[in-house]
Subunit: 177 residues, 2 copies
Amino acid sequence: MKRTTFLLVMVVTLACVAGFTAIISRQAAAQEAAPIFVKKIPDGYRDWKVVSVAHEAGDLNDIRAVLGNDIAIKAYRDGKLPFPEGAIVGRIAWSHVASEENNKTFGREQSFVAGSPTDAYLQFMVKDSKKYAATGGWGYSSFDKDGKPTDEAAMKNCFPCHQAIKDRDFIFTKYAP
Amino acid sequence: MKRTTFLLVMVVTLACVAGFTAIISRQAAAQEAAPIFVKKIPDGYRDWKVVSVAHEAGDLNDIRAVLGNDIAIKAYRDGKLPFPEGAIVGRIAWSHVASEENNKTFGREQSFVAGSPTDAYLQFMVKDSKKYAATGGWGYSSFDKDGKPTDEAAMKNCFPCHQAIKDRDFIFTKYAP
């Protein structure tokens, strides 16, 4: 009887361990397969309305427009947070180049314009709370001047930085009047 | 007979002078009344598509978005010059301010964003070849942060500067990719 009990306990324990391991590995696989990064440039983004503009000096040396699809723009204008499902905020970055033509007309060196697309030309944040639950409900994407998505390794830096502004639903750019 | 002829010549001459004077003064009045400068902010400009972005350093110290209504954007994208009737190109200028929040996240001083509207917040060029024939077919307008039009005296500087780029139909800003 003692021996039978011992065997029974062993069998149940092993079954539990096996089951638990199976659950854990399924969860891990699901997490790995989760679409953290968006690999497709949203249609029609170049027609979107302006959220704001910015200039990154230093190594980036770009000038950028931040745009939003209609859902994002409405939320911005209504001051609604968090952004609703389907909102997309995008930014286009061009190299920040001095305009000789403008400077000549102004009579002084002061004018910088948008040059060619930068290495990190296009970036988008796509709101889908379920799909991108692991990264605050936003799917991140980044594309170079040829439309090639940025390496996944580099993309892992997006969410940790954006966590700094969790109270604004992870979106840095504020709407310009 | 001689006296009659003389009087007739005098009457005709005076009539001609009077008529000519009337024509000239009507022309002068028409020219003075010509709507060189536009005094109304175009409806819905904040929804327009992006032509490009720019940064004016120095005294202006602004960052700007150049937008176009649908007619202007189509012409830009089609590379069509001169711009068709009804085209409007606008620009919004915000103060160019360092973003402490962004700099903190980036870990370096590099980020500038759009601050409050500048003294020359909004400017538009409205294409109407007949109405604005005297200034290359474009009506110029400029408004401060409260929507007040800029003084006419200052507006007289618009067209002379834009004449530098007559071959691009007087529009400085090029379409950003």
